[in-house]
């Protein structure tokens, strides 16, 4: 297969999001310093409900999916993928995971950090925090497998949510025991962390962190409201950078300040009608698809054809939560936040399409004034990239907007063909043009 051109990252439009690369380097540096000081370090996944606890316990975190993405963007992933394959992990497994496993196997084999590892490499964890969710098996299998290469203990946090629809159950009847489960599991996590890191959780400190997180989510969410403007003030490639403070630094003043600053910049762009590209012809939705981290420049290719992505479904901020006033315990607030974000679209879905994701697409089409939808099928991710055809089938029952399905992977460039991708984009632009002409 043909590889991508040399440039992998996309040009950003907003000044604030350009700062994120330096923030990622700082995150890595903090982990190196924690290691040198003997402070605890946790491997973790995004969107796993536990960030506020880690922040309150002052445990340094290493986002392993994020590191795989960084390796892909720096074209350094292949050596780790190859190492994982030589260890017996199949090429079709999640390449976030196999990149991480390959990295950890290499570090173990060398007895130290692999040379030229991006940002100095991932530090040895003290603990590894998996999650048992409904959306991603690698979230518990990956760290279980990583024990081959590190002595760090693993904890898997149970995080479940009900499906949108049953024929003979009212979802309201299950809510309490789902939330109770998440609360109990978070307490189990605290117990695990206290045993293995020597840190103690102070509930007052956690309450402060949870408050700060909720404030941060609110500002982050407000930015996404501003993104509805025409022309698009902040495109998807910027959002894929700007999500880093929200997903890897939540509960810190740094994340809050970042989103305040980003809000001000986007507000200025909206007020002054500053768009991503000079002549915005087509506005597109990046649907429920992880991006090709080694080829984010694809967004600039769309832009060169007059198409911009004002919004995307992935790495969206969680919606501000409706937590009952009597829920004041910070761990309970965290559980409510998770449950609410995972079930918020259920009622609406039951009333129409039956699919929460499709409802989201349809809402965004209206709210962000979109002309079409683009999916990316990441070949090694069965978490959210199976069922895309099903989503497209349902979507087409309610909208005639053109849909494009690209193929590639999150990390493994061997699954990507740039020329074929460009051909598909070119043909899609023609379809958009024809659709607009027909409906004008």
């Amino acid at each position: 297969m043909e590889g991508p051109r040399e440039k992998t990252t996309a040009e950003k439009s907003t000044e604030t999001s350009k700062r994120v690369r330096m923030m990622i380097k700082d995150l890595a540096q903090r982990a190196h310093e924690a290691r040198a000081a003997g402070d605890p370090i946790a491997y973790l996944f995004i969107s796993s409900c536990y960030d506020d606890i880690l922040r309150a316990m002052d445990i340094t975190t290493v986002g392993t999916e994020n590191y795989a993405g960084l390796c892909a963007a720096k074209m350094s992933a292949e050596q780790y993928l190859a190492k994982a394959e030589s260890e017996g992990y199949q090429r079709h497994l999640c390449t976030y995971a196999t990149c991480g496993l390959g990295f950890d196997a290499t570090r173990r084999e060398l007895g130290g950090m692999p040379p030229n590892a991006p940002d100095g490499g991932m530090e040895q964890p003290t603990v590894m925090l998996g999650t048992g969710m409904m959306i991603c098996d690698p979230r518990y299998k990956w760290y279980q497998a990583t024990r081959r290469y590190t002595d760090a203990p693993v904890h898997v946090l149970g995080l479940l949510n009900p499906p949108a629809y049953y024929t003979h159950v009212d979802i309201k009847d299950v809510r309490n025991y789902y939330i109770r489960y998440i609360v109990q599991e978070l307490y189990e996590l605290v117990d695990f962390l206290e045993r293995h890191t020597g840190r103690r959780l102070n509930m007052d400190r956690l309450a402060e962190v949870v408050d700060l997180s909720e404030k941060t989510i609110k500002v982050w969410h407000d930015i996404y409201e501003l993104r509805k403007a025409v022309p698009a003030p902040m495109p998807t490639e910027d959002a894929l950078n700007a999500m880093v403070p929200g997903y890897f630094m939540m509960g810190t003043q740094l994340a809050y300040d970042f989103y305040r600053e980003l809000y001000d910049e986007i507000k200025h762009r909206v007020d002054n009608k500053i768009g991503t590209i000079p002549d915005e012809k087509y506005r597109l939705l990046w649907a429920l698809s992880l991006p090709p981290w080694y080829a984010l420049v694809i967004f600039n290719y769309f832009e060169s054809q007059g198409a911009v992505f004002p919004i995307e479904v992935v790495y969206h901020p969680p919606p501000p939560v409706d937590i009952p006033a009597n829920v004041t315990n910070p761990i309970e607030r965290m559980a409510w936040r998770f449950y609410d974000s995972m079930t918020r679209g259920h009622e609406k879905a039951r009333k129409r399409s039956g699919d929460t994701n499709v409802e989201w697409f349809l809402d965004m089409i209206d709210e962000y004034k979109l002309d079409g939808v683009v999916f990316h099928q990441a070949m090694t991710c069965r978490t959210i990239h199976t069922g895309q055809l099903h989503q497209i089938n349902i979507f087409k029952k309610y909208s005639d907007k053109p849909v494009l399905l690209l193929e590639g992977d999150i990390i493994d460039v061997r699954n990507y063909n740039q020329a074929a991708t460009h051909d598909k984009v070119d043909a899609f632009i023609e379809t958009l043009e024809a659709y607009k002409a027909k409906n004008s």
Binding site: G130, K141, Y177, Y178
Partner: protein, 381 residues
């Protein structure tokens, strides 16, 4: 009941026949996926639990339009069978939260296959105390959904009776497996697969009668003796079809025991029948069904961890005196594929030779596999 070999063959050929008859007479069937669905609750509701599967003999036709080729081919095949209408005799279906692939099937069946009833049982990934408490509540919800569907209350006594009946079934299955400790075993791996798939297509009491008749038959068989043939254990994912096992046995292996989704997994435990039947079910299905989707863990050391996760395989291998293990996984089964380096290390530490096979569903290249299998059998024989 007097056993006749054609009984199993007939059921296996047309697995839905008995449920269709019963359904016409007013006792419906509920399809279910995976060994994690507590079938006792379906039985207690007066319905027939019917194990859903794909088709090894039919190529995928319609499912291509709904589910990508990167999805587990077993789930794609099962969806295809569902889309064809072949399961239309069922009242509905139950999908447990087993793995990402099976979870996806819930949405796909819900939208695309007509049903009167459907339910999702959320099975935690861990065996922690909160997970157990949650799972009890989840089973209470499952029971309530069936009560609403049938209009009949499922009391504790009905649940206990169902648990007893299914426990009896498990004991019978284990007893029949026990005969396979003999050398040569009177029951082949292919025969066992056909028998179990037939049992999982019948009401529990009829399945038990079939097992009893089968057991009487093999108990009366004279013991034979023949030359030394490698005794093989088959582990891994589901494979309800006999194509692969028949090839193994045709290549000179004796498949004497397994750790498979359509083999021992749903039968190698007994549910306690304590004061709260739902708590008993939750404990057994969460703790005793050995599937890599349930996170089991021993933090003392990597070796202890491997023992917790795979010790049951070595234990069965020793009990049935196997010469080697074939670990068969359907393509894109992430939960099994992540385990491969660990299980290889563990089985080698136990001096158990192992061969890994990852295959499409249906099996795409039997002759290529045969060459590998023959080489493996020669090595362990």
């Amino acid at each position: 009941m007097k056993f006749d070999a054609s009984m199993v063959a007939d059921i296996y050929q047309d697995r839905g026949k008995r449920v269709r008859e019963l359904s016409a007479a007013g006792r419906g069937g509920v399809g279910y996926f995976c060994s994690l669905t507590p079938v006792e609750i379906i039985t207690a509701a007066g319905l027939v639990p019917f194990r859903l599967a794909g088709s090894m003999s039919e190529p995928i036709r319609e499912a291509h339009s709904y589910l990508e080729t990167i999805a587990c081919p077993f789930t794609r095949s099962a969806l295809d069978v569902g889309l064809s209408g072949a399961y239309s005799f069922l009242d509905g279906y139950v999908v447990p939260h087993a793995c990402d692939n099976i979870v996806k099937l819930y949405e796909l069946w819900l939208h695309n296959i007509p049903h009167k009833y459907c339910h999702f049982v959320n099975v935690p990934h861990t065996t922690s105390r909160p997970s157990m408490e949650f799972f009890i509540e989840e089973l209470r919800t499952f029971k309530a959904s069936l009560e609403l569907y049938t209009g009949q209350e499922i009391g504790a006594e009905k649940l206990r009776q169902a648990i007893d009946a299914h426990n009896k079934q498990r004991r019978l299955v284990q007893k029949i497996y026990g005969y396979r400790k003999q050398d040569p075993p009177p029951v082949s791996g292919s025969d066992m697969t056909r028998l179990l798939m037939s049992v999982m297509s019948l009401p529990v009491e009829e399945g038990n009668a079939l097992l009893e008749a089968f057991e009487s038959e093999i108990a009366a068989l004279p013991r034979s003796a023949d030359g030394k043939v490698p005794r093989i254990m088959l582990c891994g994912t589901g494979n309800e079809d006999t194509t692969f096992i028949s090839m193994l046995e045709g290549s000179g292996a004796r498949v004497v025991i397994d750790d498979l989704c359509f083999g021992t997994k749903p039968f190698w435990f007994e549910v306690g029948n304590g004061e709260d039947p739902l708590a008993s079910l939750a404990r057994s299905y969460l703790n005793d069904v050995h599937c890599p989707r349930t996170f089991r863990y021993d933090q003392r050391s990597h070796q202890d961890d491997l023992e917790v996760r795979f010790g049951h395989i070595a234990s069965l291998a020793r009990e049935f005196e196997v010469n080697g293990i074939i670990y068969y996984s359907v393509l894109y089964c992430d939960t099994h594929a992540f385990d491969v380096p660990d299980i290889r290390e563990y089985l080698e530490s136990q001096k158990l030779p192992v061969m890994f096979v990852e295959e499409e569903y249906p099996v795409s290249s039997l002759e290529r596999l045969r060459t590998r299998v023959e080489a493996f059998l020669e090595m362990v024989g």
